[in-house]
């Protein structure tokens, strides 16, 4: 999920977010509020809105209910905006080819990112790989750990804040803690280089 070629300077602030990444984004209020304050513009497709807020869950937990409430609030206050797709967007040959390899939320997000020429935020390896191929540049396919890296690199969050982010994220039973920690290592490496102390990021 975290590539060694991650360049915080190339992180794009306008992102369409797939369902899984919506949960990861709102799982930590510290991460989410910091990202918004730093200028992150997050949007979702109409399908992702349905998947996150309407689709019945097979065995919902208290954490699910909390995440749904947070996503619902973010959407209703337009912190996260919702955008529709056209039928023609689904008839794109590349999209048709990818349709059986991706979930519908991931697919709709790639389609929208391609259509309006913005980045896509997803925490699935296959989805980000395909997004990297379909979108204008590889850096247009990004992840929640990369968002964290961007916030750390530009000091919107401190290394000490990461513990709070991890705690909040884990309290919602989300799975990115190892990836967050790896990103901290990468950013610390960049910072050492920037301060002239040597020792770049460890390849991953």
């Amino acid at each position: 999920m975290i590539a060694s070629d991650f360049d915080p300077a190339s992180f794009e602030i306008v992102n369409v977010v797939d369902t899984c990444a919506v949960w990861n984004l709102v799982s930590s209020p510290t991460l989410y509020n910091s990202a918004r304050a730093a200028g992150l513009k997050a949007c979702v497709t109409g399908f992702v809105q349905y998947e996150a807020l309407v689709k019945p869950r097979t065995s919902p937990t208290a954490e699910d209910a909390e995440l749904v409430a947070r996503a619902s609030k973010a959407i209703s206050t337009k912190e996260i905006t919702v955008h529709p797709l056209d039928i023609e967007d689904l008839q794109d040959i590349e999209v048709l080819r990818a349709r059986k390899a991706l979930g519908r939320g991931e697919l709709s997000s790639i389609v929208f990112a391609k259509k309006v020429n913005i980045a896509m935020l997803s925490d699935d390896r296959k989805a980000t790989t395909l997004a990297g191929e379909v979108l204008a540049s590889k850096s247009r396919a990004t992840t929640t750990p990369r968002l964290l890296g961007w916030l750390l690199f530009y000091s919107h969050l401190s290394i000490a804040d990461v513990e709070v982010v991890v705690q909040e994220h884990q309290a919602m039973c989300r799975p990115l803690e190892p990836h967050f920690r790896r990103m901290v290592e990468i950013i610390e490496g960049y910072m050492r280089v920037a301060r002239g102390m040597g020792g770049g990021p460890r390849p991953v």
Binding site: T45, F47, L85, L96, A101, E106, S108, A127, P175
Partner: protein, 384 residues
């Protein structure tokens, strides 16, 4: 590619009718407002791309079904099936059948991307005998020969054997216990068999073999629904069903195997013991003995009412061992949805090999993405 608004409107309203969804139900399921639903069904407006994806998600089909005229979903088959057997299939059963067809389509895709093709050449048998019962038995003998089975050989795992022939086989619970199984010819997934998981595992083996006969010999029909022999829907005059029973009996209990049984007076004990050994119900064994004149009608009549293998003795081998009661209960719930070890294995293999995303695997396993870790653990897999 031009979009046909009238065709879309017709598909939407007919799908809603198939699943007996009124507008309120539909609004609750999709989040699409009622006036919008009416306008879409009247062909007054074109759907958005999101709405098309939502409908594909709700109706468990490829979204291309709604935006093209290609036959990518067994829509006509289910429409006719639900129309003809409307009284026998509850709304829940209709959804169960739709999910089963979704699993079949996903399995076909998974086998394709994983490069796993049927290990046995396709079996072809042209019905040739006007005497249906004999034709069923001959077809089973031909299939056993095609598979290279010895004439006395018992079949340990009939589900696996049928999958190796390229059939899609899923065991799924239906509310109506009178339906033992069904066969559907899917335009993408091919020959698909649903076995009612609500029945005991020995009966499920027989049903799988019975439905296989429909798949091989009744392919000109889009679907066949099989009812329990005690059901009001079952008819002694239905020759196709009689042929399928003869096929299943011969496939699971071939003549040579039955003929080799000790020539004894059949009692409750020895019928039960032998039936248990070859994993069939005693009634099936007695019918096969009767076919070969190895038991008389009076004995069958006498034993039939009392002979029974306790349900706890008929263990589903897929549940496995070493699970806590809670885990076993969760696994049973998944098995009842049709998620066999075979199918779950394909899903996780495709994920591991990078063919599909986790979101797609969740869709294919009828669950949420966050549940995947737990499902993986129940089936002895690790999700990285």
């Amino acid at each position: 590619m031009t979009f046909d608004t009238s065709l879309f409107a017709s598909k939407l309203s007919r799908y809603r009718a198939q699943f007996q969804l009124d507008v309120d139900d539909f609004v609750r399921l999709t989040g699409i407002k009622s006036d919008r639903v009416c306008a879409l069904e009247a062909g007054e407006v074109k759907p958005t791309g999101d709405e098309v994806l939502i409908l594909a998600d709700v109706f468990k089909c490829d979204y291309r079904f709604f935006i093209s005229s290609e036959r990518v979903a067994p829509f006509e088959e289910t429409e006719e099936l639900f129309r003809r057997h409307g009284n026998a299939l509850t709304r829940e059963d209709r959804w169960a059948i739709q999910e089963f067809l979704h699993l079949c389509e996903c399995e076909a895709f998974l086998l394709d991307v994983l490069g796993r093709h049927p290990s046995v050449a396709p079996f072809v048998y042209v019905p040739k005998d006007k005497y249906f019962k004999r034709d069923g038995a001959n077809a089973a003998k031909a299939l056993r020969a095609h598979l290279g089975l010895e004439t006395r050989q018992d079949i340990t795992d009939v589900f696996d054997l049928l999958r190796r022939l390229g059939l899609r086989v899923f065991r799924r619970s239906l509310q109506n216990s009178e339906v033992s199984g069904l066969f559907v010819r899917h335009p993408i997934a091919g020959l698909c068999i649903l076995v009612n998981y609500s029945e005991d595992v020995y009966r499920q083996r027989f049903t799988a073999a019975h439905e296989a006969c429909h798949a091989f010999l009744d392919t000109d029909q889009g679907f066949v629904v099989s009812f329990e022999s005690g059901s009001s829907k079952w008819s002694r005059d239905d020759l196709v069903e009689i042929r399928a029973n003869a096929f299943a009996g011969q496939l699971l209990l071939p003549d040579d195997l039955v003929s080799e049984l000790p020539k004894v007076t059949w009692t409750l004990d020895n019928v039960t013991t032998f039936a248990n050994k070859v994993r069939v119900n005693p009634v099936t064994l007695m019918f096969r003995l009767s076919d070969l004149n190895l038991i008389d009608e009076a004995t069958i009549k006498n034993l039939r009412r009392s002979v029974k293998i306790p349900i706890e003795a008929k263990v589903d081998p897929e549940i496995g061992t070493g699970l806590t009661p809670l885990q076993a209960e969760r696994k049973l719930r998944l098995l009842r949805l049709g998620l066999s070890a075979h199918y779950v294995g394909l899903c996780f293999d495709a994920l591991q090999e990078g063919h599909v995303s986790k979101g797609r695997v969740a869709e294919m396993m009828l669950c949420d993405e966050r549940e995947l870790q737990g499902v993986a653990a129940l089936f002895g897999r690790v999700l990285s």
